[in-house]
């Protein structure tokens, strides 16, 4: 037999993760934790807002997770906000600072920040959809001067599910960010808005021609939020959304994330509404 196993180190398999160390782990809600990671040698991840990484735990598997920290605040580290829903995410929640996980990426098309500069920004995040949007929002906030108005809408099911409270507070406290949030169902301490995220739209008035909208949330949210955005006159080419699909490779090979002719991992996960509208399988 001819020797059949070849070392591909010199050829860099795209499936080979780098080892990243968990620096900090913060419990956010019952189901979500935020992990701060560092690549070997403090190397920068070099991500765009909206891109994702494939996180590996050996023996458990891999899962795509959006980077929720923004490049403008990287300091050689990056953050992931992970909801515990299955094998990989459960195991990840069981880790401690100092533990090591595999990371591949960043992958995919994020939000095209260069097209956004100079424009008014409208963000609409539902639930865990804040994770990828936070990356973009903070980048915009950090380059605040380069943008017009900045409006952030955020909705969760219940006050106990609110993520990134410190960021929310910072945005709320800024005069140059218009921040609104709501919960589907309040509790006794909740004094804010109650209702689904679409109930926030009537409160705002915008110049649609100059506005870029970015949204992320669970599949059911999209239909209604998109309707609201369109009804305000924002052109389909100026509405960006980030989609979630099953992914096994993250690099446009495995086929799982295909939405009609698009590969969510490669052509997305961020798409303009113009790209995907009419695709039955997209939303």
């Amino acid at each position: 037999m001819i020797e059949s196993v070849v070392d591909v180190a010199q050829e860099e398999s795209v499936y080979l993760p780098q080892m990243a160390q968990l620096l900090k782990i913060e419990q956010m809600t019952e189901l979500e934790k935020v992990f701060t990671l560092q690549l070997p040698g403090g190397r920068s991840l070099g991500n765009d807002p909206g891109q994702f990484v494939e996180v590996s735990l050996f023996g458990i598997g891999e899962a795509p997770i959006s980077v929720s920290s923004s490049p403008s605040r990287s300091n050689g580290t990056f953050e992931l906000c992970v909801r515990r829903v299955g094998d990989l995410t459960n195991a990840l929640h069981g880790l401690e600072p100092g533990d090591v996980v595999g990371v591949r990426g960043p992958f995919g098309h994020g939000f095209p920040i260069e097209k956004m500069r100079g424009r008014d920004m409208l963000f609409a995040a539902g639930g865990l959809g804040l994770a990828p949007l936070r990356s973009l929002i903070n980048q915009v906030v950090d380059e605040r001067g380069a943008f017009g108005r900045v409006i952030v809408l955020y909705g969760t099911k219940h006050p106990s599910e609110i993520l990134f409270k410190e960021d929310l507070k910072a945005w709320e406290e800024r005069d140059d960010v218009e921040f609104h949030m709501t919960v589907d169902r309040g509790d006794e301490d909740w004094t804010g808005n109650v209702g689904v995220i679409t109930t926030l739209f009537p409160e705002i008035a915008i110049n649609p021609r100059n506005t870029i909208a970015a949204t992320c949330g669970p599949p059911i949210m999209y239909r209604f939020v998109l309707m609201e955005m369109q009804s305000k006159g924002i052109p389909e080419t100026q509405i960006y959304l980030s989609l979630e699909r099953r992914m096994k490779c993250g690099v446009g090979k495995c086929g799982h994330c295909q939405i009609d002719q698009f590969y969510c991992c490669q052509d997305g996960p961020v798409f303009t509404y113009a790209q995907i509208k009419g695709l039955e399988e997209a939303l």
Binding site: G59, I60, G86, D87, N90, A91, G94, L95
Partner: protein, 260 residues
Amino acid sequence: MAENGRPKVAFFDFACCEGCQLTVVDSLQTHLELVEAVEIVQFREAMTEKGEDYQIAFIEGSCTREQDEARLREIREQADIVVALGACAHIAGVNAIKNVQPSLQDVREYVYGDKWEQYDSYAARPISAVIEVDAVIPGCPIDRFEFLDVVKKLLLGKKPSVPDYPVCVECKLKENVCILETGGTCLGPITRAGCDAIYPTYGVGCLGCRGLISNPNENAMMDVLEEAGLTVEQLMSKMTMFNAYEPAHIGEAVASPAEE
């Protein structure tokens, strides 16, 4: 990580042939380290000790008598994780063929004559009809590699899942000549994979021992079998060799397939 240390495991059996437990013993041929990975505290077929302190219970066999129910509940009470081991426990398997005979009394009389009443037995049920089950290892008998796979998933704290796609996938991955193409009959298109398509590989159409996938197109399957030349009786036989258990049939006599 949510890894479970070295859990205590116990094996139990009800109405069955014990072939699945035997397969567990067979798995030691290639994986003797199993005895290091878990602590076996009860395994009547192979050991004398009977520890009642266990976290994982593997249960083989169908429930066919009232007294079985109480025992099953006891096991459920003790175990953190209950795994149905093999077709009898998973889907009642061949035991349920008696459920589709003319009547249970007839079945008992046929075998025990006028003393039939001494021999307690009701319609065969999978153990999930009596207690909650956390995982299944399908098959008649189980596939030993799948058994090991489930054990490893449990040790890793993963969901101990088994495939939910049809046998055809594995069959084609092995590049078998399809039994349907050679004029035979096969339940592979609707039967849960995980056996490495062992029946078609050895020239016999799948008999369905691993139970059906979650969304089987049974009507289309029956059309295919009829097309392949099975009579209605033969077709019903085929569909009920391992998959005769229907909750709806329990407690009532059902017409035998041959009498339809």
